[in-house]
């Protein structure tokens, strides 16, 4: 008897799991309008979401939630715990121009697109390199800052590794999903993806990888004299690239920000902010 009950329970469980899968795939088909009725309802829901523009949504809400990571000199905290930095100050000014408050939220960088789509943040403004992946999954602003991917090696061997070519036999640590990973993979060099750029630096410091590839702005702030990694240095640069701000796909805020960038570049306030954080040399003309 007990066995029968168990068998029944198990088969029921199996049925449930299949039903669950079935209804999921059914929903996907809805969006590809399998029947007229379903197509109608799908369209209706699309309309309601596109009815309200992203700008409208943010203004109604009254806050612009900016997704960031702790990243000097773009977004970091002062002694009082307030977020400052070139990106943070520009984001604050942009929110002000929209007539809304700004709120900074630290996110897991891997989840940035998910955070945007789930509306837990409204933009990603954190020295984000405009790669193909980024521009295809978000509505991006114009580039506002130049950057490059540079190789990090131990200081005592730096002389031998001044060119990209000379690095080819080394093992690399790179941030998963970063522009640096793309560069190293494109060259076919041996690399290990790690969780963050900082982890990549630690790999080199600990000797578990020979070299790392990270942003030059970050490298300038984090390795060499006076930093936590005095025995590391940066050598060859792989490419040049640009930073942009990411919004939800299809958002009208990206266009709004472009106008804001152009205005603040013209009146010099962007440059003043950049000088405050030492990134004026990297600024892109708007």
């Amino acid at each position: 008897m007990k066995k029968k009950v168990l068998a029944a329970a198990l088969s029921l469980a199996l049925c449930f799991s299949m039903v669950a899968c079935g209804s999921d795939s059914g929903k996907n088909e809805d969006n590809q309008d399998t029947t007229v009725e379903q197509a109608d309802s799908a369209e209706a829901s699309e309309e309601t979401s596109s009815d309200e523009s992203d700008l409208q949504y943010v203004q109604d809400k009254g806050t612009l939630i900016v997704g960031i990571t702790d990243f000097e000199p773009m977004d970091y905290q002062d002694e009082n715990g307030n977020w400052i930095g070139f990106d943070a100050d520009m984001a604050t000014a942009f929110a002000k121009s929209l007539g809304v408050d700004v709120e900074f939220v630290e996110i897991d960088w891997d989840n940035k697109v998910l955070e945007l789509d789930a509306k837990s943040i409204d933009c990603v403004w954190n020295g984000m390199t405009l790669t193909d992946e980024v521009t295809s999954s978000m509505a991006c602003s114009n580039a506002y800052c130049n950057n490059a991917q540079v190789a990090i090696v131990k200081k005592d061997v730096a002389d031998q590794y001044q060119t990209v070519e000379s690095l080819k036999d080394l093992s690399f640590a790179v941030e998963a999903g970063s522009a640096g990973e793309a560069e190293v993979n494109a060259l076919g060099y041996n690399c290990t993806p790690v969780k963050a750029q900082a982890d990549a630096l630690m790999e080199v410091a600990a000797g578990t990888s020979d070299a790392a590839v990270i942003d030059s702005l970050m490298a300038a702030a984090m390795v060499g004299e006076g930093t936590g990694y005095e025995d590391l240095t940066y050598t060859a640069s792989f490419n040049s690239e640009e930073y942009g701000v990411g919004f939800r796909k299809g958002s009208d805020l990206a266009e709004k920000l472009n106008t804001f960038f152009a205005d603040s570049y013209k009146d010099g306030s962007m440059k003043t902010t950049a000088e405050k954080y030492g990134v004026q040399a990297a600024l892109v003309e708007q």
Partner: protein
């Protein structure tokens, strides 16, 4: 470059703030999961079959999937589907979503431990209670409950100690608990960058806290040792 001695005040301050989040999540989870676990335990022992099967399937799903995935689904799924997040993007919303995930997850584990505890109380005692004219709830609260509590202390202790460390999973939805706080100094935070020791040092917090819990739970076990 500042020495570790100079970094200590800043680092400990940040780790303490993170650890408060860890503790908050820990206690909120226990507060929610203890009663919810009992409800689920009753559901899975219910005489009403559909309820029993539904509860057991629920427990199967929750215990059968990683807590990390549950956190991601609970936090992001509503926003993705409804077009408006029910949690809010700020830290409070993240904490709330993490608390809900942890409570549901731990309640399912607790429910099975409760079930074991309840079913290990000899059936003769329930029958005796019925003969004496007690109601079912009287029998549970006056006869079964204390014996159940005594029996489940060791397995629940195990789960509690596991929970201390599982709270670190909440960093996947960017809840800034102690590991997040420690990791921040790797990349650079408050003028300290490229430091691995704060991250490693978080282990001491966990160790001390679980040490205290072990002592407390051991004491509770001894206190309940006056009957068999």
């Amino acid at each position: 470059m500042s020495t570790i001695m100079e970094q200590m005040p800043i680092v400990f301050q940040a780790l303490n703030v993170g650890f408060v989040q860890t503790l908050k999540l820990f206690f909120v989870t226990l507060l929610g999961a203890f009663p919810l676990g009992l409800v689920i335990a009753f559901g899975s022992m219910s005489g009403f079959r559909p309820l029993r099967y539904l509860t057991r399937i629920f427990v199967w799903i929750i215990r059968g999937t990683p807590l990390m995935i549950q956190l991601l689904i609970i936090y992001y799924f509503p926003g993705l589907v409804l077009g408006k997040t029910i949690w809010g993007g700020g830290e409070d919303g993240r904490f709330l979503a993490a608390a809900v995930s942890f409570i549901v997850n731990y309640a399912c584990y607790f429910s099975e431990i409760y079930r074991g505890g309840i079913q290990s109380v000899p059936k003769g005692q329930q029958e005796a209670g019925l003969v004496l004219g007690m109601t079912k709830s009287q029998i549970f609260f006056k006869v079964t409950l204390l014996q159940m509590i005594k029996r489940i202390v060791p397995p629940i202790s195990n789960e509690i100690i596991t929970l201390v460390k599982d709270t670190s999973l909440a960093r996947i939805i960017a809840l800034q608990e102690i590991i997040w706080a420690g990791q921040a100094f790797l990349k650079g935070s408050q003028g300290i960058s490229g430091q691995i020791w704060p991250l490693f040092f978080t282990a001491v917090y966990y160790l001390v806290f679980s040490g205290i819990l072990t002592l407390l739970l051991g004491w509770l076990e001894r206190k309940l040792d006056y009957f068999k």
